[in-house]
Symmetry: C2
C-alpha cells in the first residue's frame, strides 16, 4: 500500500486536481485527526469524546458555508441547504463514528464528500442563479458502527421508522450508559424528526478488493447480500477448572469454541459465496479457575445467494445439535436480525451510471456485503449507493486506505448524482 500523499494546498493544486479537490483533501486530513491512533487509524465510537469533538468541527465547517445545522431525536446531524422553501430534501451522507482502532475512510469519507458535493452545488447555483427542485441536506448518521451501542445503523434505523426511538435511546453500552445519557450532555439530541427526505445518496469505500483488482474507479451498488445475524447463548455449568473431573464438566466456552469453528467449516463449504464471522464473544464468569457457565456470541452468515444462505443456516443448526451433545451444553438461539437480497432502486443505479459516463469514470455494478445507512434509506426513498476502491480490501483496520485520486473521483461523481437528483431527474 502506498502512504497517503501529502496534499498540495488549494492555491497550487496537484496535476489533475482542482483547488476544490485540494480543499476536500485538506479537510479530509483535518477530519482524520479526531480520535487519530498512533498506527494511522482512528478510534471514534459513537458519542465518545472524539466523536463529539468531530461533530462540533463538522458543524463549524457546514455553518461556515451557510448550511443550517440541526439534530433529530436520535442525534443524527444534518446540514441543510434550503434553496426551495418547503421542498423536501436530497439526503447525502454517511457516518463519522468508527469502530475501535478503525480506519480513516469508513463512513467519514462519505460524510465529507457529501458536504463538499453540497458546497460545490451551492456555489454553482449561487453563481448561476439556478434553482433546483429539491433542497439538499448533508447527513452524519448517529452510531452506524454499533460497536458501543447495539444495533448498528441505529440513527438511520430510527429515522426510517425501523427501530423505535425509545428503544434506541434506552440502549446501554457495556458501562451501563444509555444512548440518551451519552447524547444529552453533547447538545446533539434534538426534538424533531429531521428534514423530510425525497431521495438519498451515499458514497463509501468498498471494503473489498473487487474494484482495485479490476482497476475500476466506481462501484454502482445494485443490492445488498442477504444476511442472517444470530445471537447465541451457550449454557454450561460453573465448575472448578482444576478439580472437577473432565467427564463432569459442562464447559460453555468449549461449546462456544466448537460453534466458532463450525461456522468457519460451513463457510468453507461455499467458497466465495458465504461469509461468516463471530466478532463478539463474552465469557461468564471469565475467571482463570472457573469453567464458564455462559458464553454469548454474535454470529453472521452472509451470502449473495439466498439459497446458499438457507442451506448454510440448516448446516449450522445441524452442527449446533451435535455440539450440544458432545460438549454437554445447551445453545439458545436469539435470531436478532435477518434480511434477504434487497435491491437499490434500478432507476437510481441507471442515473448513477449515466453520471459516471458523463464524467468518463470507469464503473461496474457491485453488491454490498457490509451494512450501510443507505440500506435503511432505500426502503424509504429512492437511494443511490456508490463505492470507491479500498486498497487490498482492508477495512475495520487502521491500515484501511483509499488514494486521494480515488476519493476525488468519487466526490465528483457524487456531486453529479446529487445535481441530477436535486434537479428531479428521478422524479418522473
Amino acid at each position: 500500500m502506498t502512504p497517503p500523499t501529502a496534499p498540495a494546498d488549494a492555491a497550487s493544486p496537484r496535476p489533475g486536481f482542482t483547488p476544490a479537490d485540494e480543499a476536500f483533501v485538506q479537510d479530509f486530513a483535518t477530519m482524520s485527526a479526531f480520535g487519530a491512533t498512533p498506527a494511522g487509524g482512528v478510534d471514534r465510537q459513537a458519542a465518545s469524546p472524539d466523536d463529539v469533538r468531530q461533530r462540533r468541527w463538522l458543524a463549524g465547517v457546514l455553518e461556515a458555508r451557510g448550511l443550517r445545522v440541526v439534530y433529530d431525536r436520535i442525534g443524527n446531524q444534518f446540514g441543510l441547504l434550503e434553496r426551495v422553501p418547503g421542498a423536501p430534501y436530497v439526503l447525502i451522507g454517511s457516518h463519522m463514528d468508527s469502530q475501535p482502532t478503525a480506519g480513516r475512510f469508513d463512513g467519514a469519507y462519505g460524510v465529507l464528500a457529501a458536504a463538499h458535493a453540497v458546497f460545490r452545488l451551492a456555489e454553482e447555483w449561487e453563481r448561476s442563479g439556478g434553482v433546483p427542485r429539491f433542497n439538499l441536506a448533508v447527513v452524519n448518521w448517529f452510531n452506524e458502527e454499533g460497536s458501543r451501542f447495539v444495533p448498528s445503523m441505529m440513527g438511520s434505523s430510527v429515522f426510517t421508522g425501523k427501530l423505535p426511538l425509545e428503544q434506541a435511546l434506552a440502549t446501554r453500552d457495556r458501562d451501563g450508559v444509555s444512548v440518551r445519557e451519552a447524547l444529552e450532555p453533547t447538545g446533539f439530541l434534538g426534538d424533531g424528526a429531521g428534514p423530510a427526505a425525497a431521495f438519498c445518496a451515499e458514497i463509501h469505500i468498498e471494503q473489498g478488493r473487487g474494484l482495485e483488482n479490476a482497476g475500476i474507479a466506481i462501484g454502482l451498488v445494485t443490492s445488498s447480500w442477504a444476511a442472517n445475524k444470530y445471537t447465541f447463548i451457550v449454557n454450561g455449568d460453573q465448575a472448578h477448572s482444576g478439580a472437577t473431573v473432565m467427564a463432569d464438566r459442562k464447559d460453555a466456552l468449549l461449546g462456544a469454541s466448537l460453534l466458532v469453528v463450525a461456522a468457519r467449516e460451513v463457510a468453507d463449504r461455499f467458497p466465495g459465496v458465504l461469509h461468516t464471522s463471530v466478532g463478539q464473544l463474552d465469557v461468564y464468569p471469565n475467571s482463570p479457575v472457573v469453567v464458564a457457565s455462559r458464553v454469548s456470541l454474535l454470529l453472521d452468515l452472509r451470502s449473495p445467494d439466498e439459497a446458499v444462505l438457507e442451506e448454510a443456516d440448516a448446516l449450522l443448526h445441524r452442527r449446533i445439535t451435535e455440539i450440544e451433545e458432545s460438549a454437554r451444553v445447551t445453545v439458545e438461539r436469539h435470531h436478532s436480525h435477518s434480511w434477504g437480497i434487497t435491491p437499490y432502486q434500478p432507476d437510481g443505479v441507471e442515473l448513477a451510471r449515466r453520471c459516471a459516463r458523463r464524467l468518463g469514470l470507469s464503473h461496474t455494478d457491485v453488491m454490498t456485503v457490509a451494512g450501510h445507512d443507505s440500506i435503511n434509506m432505500k426502503d424509504l426513498v429512492p437511494t443511490v449507493m456508490l463505492f470507491v476502491p479500498s486498497s487490498e480490501g482492508v477495512s475495520h483496520n487502521e491500515l484501511e486506505f483509499t488514494t486521494d485520486a480515488d476519493m476525488v473521483a468519487g466526490l465528483r461523481l457524487l456531486t453529479e448524482v446529487v445535481r441530477s437528483l436535486a434537479n428531479g431527474e428521478l422524479d418522473g
Copy 2:
C-alpha cells in the same frame, strides 16, 4: 443434593451435635449471608464491599473470643491467641474471598472451622490451665481466588516470599484499580509481616467426588497435582466481518477457538489423569462487525503424573503450530506458572491420620488438583491439609454443598490436629 438443614440452636442441639457444633453451624449461616446470591451462593471477590464487610464481621467474632486481630502488608487477616509469649504460631485457616457466583463453602468453611477450632482449644486450656508449646493464629488469606486480581493465592504467596510485595500491591483489576488502592481505604493494609509461623493447617471442601463416592469423611492430602498454566495471545488482523473475503481473514477468535478445542482433545487422550481448561478468554476489539485481531486466554494442564503432563504439553504445542498455519494467526505463549507434584510433609499426614483414628473418622489419602494457600505454606513450614466431602463434586458454583455433619466432623478433626501441632507433636 439435599438442602442445607436448618440448624437447631446451641441450647438444644440436634442428635450427634454438641452445643459448640451448633454454634459453628449458626456462625456458618451468618457468614454465608455476606455477598449471598439469590441462587444460594456467594459473590465476594477480593476486597469487594462484601469481602470487606465479611472481614469486619470475622474480626468481631475473633475479638469477642479474646483473639487479637492484626493484618500484614498484603492484607492477610490474623486472629492471634498468644498463650506462650514469644513462641511462634500454628497458622490455621483458608480464605473468605470467592469467585463471582461461587459456593458458600470454598475457603470460607476453612476459615470459620479454624476460628472454632481455636475457640475450642482456648476454652479447653482456660479450663484446664494447660499451656501448649506454640501459639495459635486463625488466618484469612487475602485473594486466594485470583478472579479479580491475578495471580491467585496472592496473600499466602507474599507471606511465604514467593511473590514480591510491591508486585502484588501494584496488580490491577480490569477497572484499573490496584490491590493497594482497593485495600488502603479498608484499613486491612498492615505494616508487618504477620505472625511467625511454626506449622500450618488448612481444611477445605474436596471440590471432587472421591470422598462422597467412597463414603469417607476425611481426605488426608498427601500432595498436589503437577500443573502448567499458560497465557496465550492469539494474533490475527482486524477486518470487516462482513465484507472481507474469507480467504483474506486472519481471525484471532477462530485461532483461539481451535486452541480451546485442541486442549480438550489433548485431555481426551489421557482420561482421568489430565485436566485442562480455558476459563478466561478476552477478545479485541470484540465488536459484532470486526474480525478479532487479538484474543488472550489462560489455559491450564494439570496431572497427577509428571510424565503425562510433559507429553500433553508437547501434544498441545504441536497442535498450536498446526493452528497457526490453518487459521493464519500467530500464537504467543507466555508461560506464567508451572509446578511439579509437590508433597505435603509425610509426618504431617501421619499426624492427621492418628488424629482421625482417635476420633473414629473414616479417612483416605488424596491428592489436591486445586491450588490452596497450604500449598504455599508447606514450602515454609510443616503443613497439614484436610478435605471434607463435596456433594457431587460441584465447586466454583452456587450449588456447592457439604452437609453440616461433614463440616462438623472436619472441624473436630481440625481441632484435634491443631491441638497436636500446638503441643509440639511434630517438633521432635
